[in-house]
């Protein structure tokens, strides 16, 4: 059952980091649950033929679906190393008897260790991928594999360095929007030809993007010139109109209302 304590500690560390920052959220996490179920069964002593293959396939699919997220390639690499060693030994992680003996544990080779995924081996062609790195403290002894270390590194990279586009977008929206702008009704532009094409373009862009509307209210000339995708060329008449609107408007809603009135010629 010590293994479940290790998993619990990993989960708690993940929770603490996630309290502090929002990582990118992987997709298709049901695949992870499918991958984990046979492994947990193995730890509990339930061995079903073919389930290790299901676990490998589900893990592989999950990694493929989320490879763009920072840290997932590392997790995939670690899982691949572990699963390669486990596949070589019929779904159990090899641990060398001499390494166990060095730590004071004496088990016979071929023995499946209770409460773990490990099998004691005399030697293995893939022993470098097996559990052979001891982590010993006064409280506990842990024998980990290079794959385990890669997985821990990948999870930390995911938690600490992946970005959440959605949350960032929300943050930006909150930074740019004002309470007045969110509660006011935005005026609708009247369809048809306008005598002010540049201002029409600007009004449509501002109506589509609240952040741009907010910037226009603060500095209409700069915001109009510096739009990342659409350049709006303002003539002297347009500039004078914008300056006048800005002088009158106190909120984004008022600014857009005035701009719509100018565009519509009302």
């Amino acid at each position: 059952m010590n293994l479940f304590v290790v998993y619990l500690v990993c989960a708690l560390v993940g929770a603490v980091i996630a309290l502090w920052r929002a990582p990118a959220w992987p997709r298709y996490n049901l695949l992870l649950a499918i991958a984990a179920t046979p492994q947990v069964g193995h730890v509990l002593g339930i061995h079903i033929r073919g389930m290790f293959a299901v676990s490998v396939m589900a893990m592989l699919l999950w990694c493929c679906c989320n490879y763009r997220i920072a840290g997932v390639p590392l997790v995939a690499g670690g899982a691949a190393l572990n699963m390669l060693a486990m596949a070589w030994h019929g779904g159990a992680m090899p641990v060398r008897a001499d390494i166990l003996a060095g730590l004071g544990y004496h088990f016979e080779t071929g023995m499946l260790l209770e409460g773990s995924k490990d099998i004691v081996v005399h030697g293995s062609p893939l022993w470098l991928l097996s559990d052979w790195l001891p982590v010993t403290t006064d409280l506990f002894t842990l024998i980990v594999s290079p794959g385990d270390l890669l997985i821990v590194g990948g999870v930390l990279v995911w938690l600490l360095f992946s970005r959440t586009p959605e949350s960032e977008r929300k943050h930006l929206m909150l930074a740019f929007s004002t309470p007045a702008a969110s509660t006011e009704k935005r005026p609708r532009l009247v369809q048809g030809q306008s005598a002010r094409p540049a201002l029409t373009r600007l009004a449509l862009l501002a109506a589509a993007d609240p952040a741009l509307a907010e910037r226009l209210l603060r500095d209409p000339f700069d915001a109009a010139d510096a739009h990342p995708h659409y350049h709006v060329t303002l003539d002297a008449h347009d500039r004078a109109t914008l300056a006048a609107i800005r002088a009158r408007a106190r909120t984004v809603g008022e600014f857009l209302g005035e701009l719509a009135a100018e565009v519509d010629g009302t």
């Binding site: 010590n2 293994l3 304590v5 290790v6 998993y7 619990l8 990993c10 989960a11 708690l12 560390v13 993940g14 929770a15 603490v16 980091i17 996630a18 309290l19 929002a22 990582p23 959220w25 992987p26 996490n29 992870l32 649950a33 991958a35 984990a36 492994q39 947990v40 676990s55 589900a58 893990m59 997790v75 670690g78 899982a79 572990n82 699963m83 486990m86 992680m93 641990v95 166990l100 730590l103 004071g104 544990y105 260790l113 409460g115 773990s116 995924k117 490990d118 559990d131 506990f140 002894t141 842990l142 024998i143 980990v144 594999s145 794959g147 385990d148 997985i151 821990v152 999870v155 938690l159």
Partner: protein
Amino acid sequence: MRSKILRALAAALLVGTIAAAAMAPLAPPPIRGPSTTIVNR
């Protein structure tokens, strides 16, 4: 605050599941020291 707690719970679940699915460390029970029981002969 509520969203942070939900996020932390979800992250805990995900990290725990990743660990269970892919990690295979060995955590043997601690070795007991010499018995201190006194046996009367």
